[in-house]
């Protein structure tokens, strides 16, 4: 084991040369390359992070937009729903009103129809009753009845109170015409005299009287002085009879209408309940 110092020194030189060579051909380039790559990767990671951040921002932005759209949609839907409900309500209300109006009109028509029917019935009845009465009286009318009628007329004229008599006298004075005595039949002379006497005692002695015959009167007597009339005739009775009949019938019709009222109210409440449902 000998140390050859020449070899030692040459090996030291060799080693130092190798150190220098490897430093230039191996460590330097490799270290640089690694450092460069490390830097590149770092840059890439940084870039990727930035991109990720941007992407996240974008995602957040879009999420926000989507959320807003969703909200808007909800609002629109809600609005549409409300409007539809409102429309529905309005339509229902209009339909209800229309139905009510129709019902009202129908009721009105019904009432009018009934009333007109009742009125007609009333009139016909009155007319018929009167016609019957007139027919009967006309058939029965004769001289005897005439005399009886004259008696009744004279009696009534005598029974007039003072005020009525004064009115009549005033009327005679005002009107410059003779009082007209209308009768259904030809009056006999005795009857004419009786009437003239009665009138003269009532109105004044100088009164002249015109006598006239009229079929319209049927049976009875009528004294007309200007606008005033004093009469006894079956017509008057018949008129009052007609009036009373029509009154009775009207009252009955009104009572019918009154009994109808609660029924309507009842139907109104039932419709109210159905609305609630």
């Amino acid at each position: 084991m000998q140390i050859d110092w020449v070899v030692v020194i040459s090996q030291i030189v060799n080693f130092l040369i190798l150190v220098w060579l490897l430093k230039h051909f191996l460590y330097g380039p490799i270290t640089n390359a690694m450092e460069n790559r490390r830097q590149a990767i770092k840059d890439q990671i940084k870039e990727a992070q930035q991109r990720e951040e941007i992407a996240e921002d974008k995602v957040r932005e879009y999420e926000e937009k989507v959320r807003q759209l969703e909200q808007q949609r909800e609002e629109f839907l809600e609005k549409a729903r409300t409007e539809a409900e409102q429309n529905h309500e309005e339509l229902l209300e209009a339909a209800r009103r229309e139905v009510e109006a129709l019902e009202e009109r129908w009721r009105e028509n019904l009432r009018e129809e009934r009333e007109s029917f009742l009125r007609e019935l009333r009139d016909r009845m009155g007319e018929r009753v009167c016609a019957v009465a007139r027919e009967v009286l006309s058939d029965l009318a004769d001289t005897e009845l005439q005399q009886q009628i004259v008696s009744v007329f004279v009696e009534r004229l005598g029974a007039l109170d003072e005020e009525s008599l004064r009115d009549l006298r005033d009327a005679v004075k005002e009107v410059d015409r003779a009082p007209v005595m209308t009768s259904a039949f030809e009056l006999s002379a005795a009857d004419r005299e009786r009437i003239e006497n009665a009138l003269r005692s009532a109105l004044g002695s100088e009164t002249t009287i015109k006598f006239r015959q009229s079929e319209d009167l049927r049976c009875g007597l009528e004294l007309s002085i200007g606008g005033r009339k004093i009469s006894w005739s079956i017509e008057g009775y018949l008129d009052s009879l007609e009036e009373s009949i029509s009154e009775t019938l009207h009252r009955e019709a009104d009572e019918d209408a009154d009994t109808d009222e609660p029924r309507e109210a009842e139907t109104a409440t039932t419709t109210g309940e159905s609305q609630g449902e």
Binding site: Q2, L18, M34
Partner: protein
């Protein structure tokens, strides 16, 4: 069989004028040229992209491993010690691996080569120490913890370097010698196993040599670690003993 016959220093390959070129220097040159050519070929087409060639990947792994190792031991920054310590490792491991190639004579099997490397380390320690801590700062470690230990510190440094040189030489040489002896005694099979073992120890010793160099340098440069030098030495010795 004489040891001298084994020493590559005795094998004269050829002469350049007066100078006799022996096997040690010749094969050293071969290894050097080989390393430089391989490095140049690979680093020539090197790229910083993410896609790299397998060869570049291999070199990067080696360089990075060396760097990490240096950093782990305490060399900071690693780039400063990288050329020196890394070259020791690469040179020694290349020589030790090529030792199994028939005809190749490992320069590390010569005490002259290992002595040269040990000398380099011996000089590198104060070189780095002074450049890092200054002359006084470096010298102070010889009188720490007390000036009484000054001679011991000096002797420790010298013996450490001597052991450094002899350790590598002894191992490589013994491996070669055992191989030669076994081939004479048992020609078949067994020498192959022994050569494999030699290969293993060769790699381990390349590692140990480089690590020890770095440890010595680190102990010379680090301010806080003046005294623990001895402990490290012991630890190194233990490590070496284990390896052997």
């Amino acid at each position: 069989m004489e040891i001298t016959e084994i020493t590559p220093d005795e094998m004269i390959m050829f002469h350049i004028g007066e100078l006799a070129i022996n096997a040690t220097i010749f094969w050293s040159w071969v290894v050097m040229i080989g390393l430089v050519i391989v490095s140049w070929l690979i680093t020539r087409s090197m790229t910083s992209e993410l896609e790299i060639s397998p060869a570049q990947n291999l070199l990067e792994v080696i360089v990075k491993s060396i760097r990490d190792q240096i950093k782990e031991i305490g060399g900071d920054p690693p780039e400063l010690y990288m050329p020196f310590v890394g070259t020791i490792f690469i040179y020694v491991i290349t020589c030790n691996i090529l030792d199994i190639v028939p005809g190749f004579v490992a320069p590390t099997g010569s005490i002259s080569t290992t002595a040269a490397l040990a000398l380099c380390v011996f000089i590198a320690v104060p070189y780095y120490g002074i450049s890092q801590r200054g002359l006084i700062g470096y010298m102070r470690r010889y009188v720490e913890p007390t000036p009484v230990l000054l001679p011991f510190n000096i002797v420790g440094d010298l013996s450490r370097s001597l052991a450094h040189a002899v350790r590598l030489f002894g191992n490589v040489m013994s491996g070669t010698m055992i191989g030669a002896l076994l081939i004479m005694l048992v020609p078949f099979f067994f020498p192959v196993v022994m050569r494999l073992l030699t290969l293993l120890t060769g790699v381990i010793h390349a590692y140990i040599f480089a690590v020890l160099a770095m440890v010595f340098i680190a102990s010379g440069t680090e301010v806080q670690r003046g005294a623990p030098e001895k402990e490290e030495g012991d630890a190194d010795d233990d490590l070496v003993d284990d390896a052997i």
